[in-house]
């Protein structure tokens, strides 16, 4: 399955992901600019992405804990999600997300 990721520089990448991987892990594994400093523990917010409008319903809304973590970034939008909380599945084949500025490494 493939996800489409637009990086902070506006470049598009089609990344192959595996069932059960977190979207953050796919993005990190392909070497894109994602800090993901807590490694998927939902303890930071440095894997912040914007979910493409057409995928919002499929991906769903963040949990309360994820909303709390989003308080620690300054560029939250209505379609903000932490990519470590989105699990790859057939339903997400073709998913489009954009990396937030706040997810960038230093």
């Amino acid at each position: 399955m493939i996800i489409h990721v637009t990086d902070q520089a506006g470049e598009n990448h089609a990344l192959e992901g595996l069932e059960g991987w977190r979207v953050m892990e796919v993005i990190r594994d392909w070497g894109l600019n994602i800090k993901a400093e807590c490694g998927g523990a939902l303890s930071c917010a440095t894997c912040h992405v914007y979910v493409d409008a057409e995928w919002m319903d499929v991906v769903g809304a963040p949990s309360d804990e994820e909303e709390d973590r989003l308080d620690s970034v300054g560029d939250v939008k209505a379609n903000s999600r932490l990519s470590c909380q989105i699990l790859m599945s057939d339903a997400l084949d073709g998913l489009k997300v954009t990396l937030a500025a706040s997810a960038a490494k230093d």
Partner: protein, 341 residues
């Protein structure tokens, strides 16, 4: 005048791998001092996920970051390591005799024979909001902490955030500023309920403003802001401001480590896998901060690295001394050091 401390080993970073290094060094009679930017031991385990369960520590089917930290502190207690918190190592200089001189931002000098960098992802520093040009205003009119309350007296202050830091400083600074606007992206706060209630009372009394929104842009010149532009649910707003305090928590930055002349690879320190020594003999790096072929960023890898590093450190501190490899299970000598025999 600087405080000067002389010891065998300085460990930079009191996370799990650094803490365990004190155990391995202690068994070899090496005395260590810790320097950490946080205010307590534990590193990422304490700062990022104290309550999160960890499932891959050998012998612990499940342990939280805080429990692991507490256990390591108990384990190294017999060796009485000394801790220096809330400070950062700015520089490391190798001396003519091969020893090292470390200078901290708390005006201390540490003299030691061995340096162990166990700094994880770097030092925890305030998270900078993604606002263009914010660097130009930092430490002049934009601050990430309050060092002197007087810097805020009579100012038009904007505080951003919804956690305890944002709320506490809203309450503490309100009496001395000229105006105060608290900005948070939503009307839900992750702070002590009493602080939230008090803040809402101040809003009700018209003493502070609260806006739901985010910072979009800063106006000002020569480091001095004059307006903070916000995007809010009610549209874009501009708030006159002479001081800004963003509170978005901490993030890890490599920091001064990058300037110590060590060979780096993608923000990690290159080490060998025999001693976990860096490109500078006498400086070791263990845990998440190092890299070598096959490196896995696991706490258990850092424990292994600590044990091998300690053997090499011993050879530097006590050259020529014969070290007999012993087990804590059977060695009376080691058990005496641990205070159990």
């Amino acid at each position: 005048m600087s405080t000067e401390i002389t010891t065998d080993v300085v460990v930079i970073g009191a996370g799990p791998c650094g803490l365990f290094a004190a155990f391995e060094l202690g068994l070899l009679d090496l005395k260590c001092h810790f320097i950490d930017i946080l205010d307590r031991p534990g590193g990422q385990c304490a700062e990022l996920y104290p309550e999160k369960p960890i499932y891959d520590i050998p012998g612990f089917p499940v342990v939280t970051g805080q429990q692991l930290t507490d256990n390591l502190m108990a384990q190294i207690a017999p060796f009485s390591p000394e801790f220096h918190f809330n400070r950062m190592v700015n520089s490391i200089e190798k001396q003519a005799d091969g020893s090292f001189k470390l200078a901290t931002d708390a005006d201390e000098i540490f003299n030691c024979k061995v340096v162990v960098i166990a700094a994880g992802g770097g030092s925890f520093q305030p998270k900078r909001p993604p606002v263009e040009n914010i660097e130009a205003f930092e430490n002049k009119s934009v601050f990430y902490s309050v060092r002197k309350m007087d810097d805020f007296r009579g100012q038009d202050l904007v505080i951003v955030g919804g956690g305890d830091s944002a709320l506490d400083w809203t309450l503490n600074l309100q009496p001395i500023v000229r105006s105060l606007t608290l900005v948070h992206r939503r009307a839900v706060f992750k702070a002590a309920p009493a602080s939230v209630n008090k803040m809402q009372e101040l809003v009700g009394e018209g003493k502070i403003n609260f806006l739901t929104g985010q910072i979009a842009k800063l106006d000002g010149e020569d480091g001095q802001i004059n307006h903070v532009h916000l995007t809010t649910d009610a549209g874009d707003l501009s708030v006159p401001a002479t001081r800004l305090l963003p509170f978005f928590g901490l993030t890890m930055k490599l920091g001064p480590v990058a300037d110590w002349g060590l060979e780096l690879n993608d923000n990690t320190i290159v080490v060998d896998t025999e001693k976990f020594q860096t490109s500078v003999p006498g400086i070791f790096a263990i845990g998440d901060i190092n890299s070598y072929p096959g490196k896995l960023k696991l706490i258990l890898s850092g424990f292994h690295e600590a044990a091998l590093m300690a053997q090499a450190a011993k050879a530097i501190v006590a050259p020529g001394e014969r070290v007999v490899f012993q087990y804590t299970t059977s060695s009376t000598k080691l058990q005496k050091k641990l205070g159990v025999a």
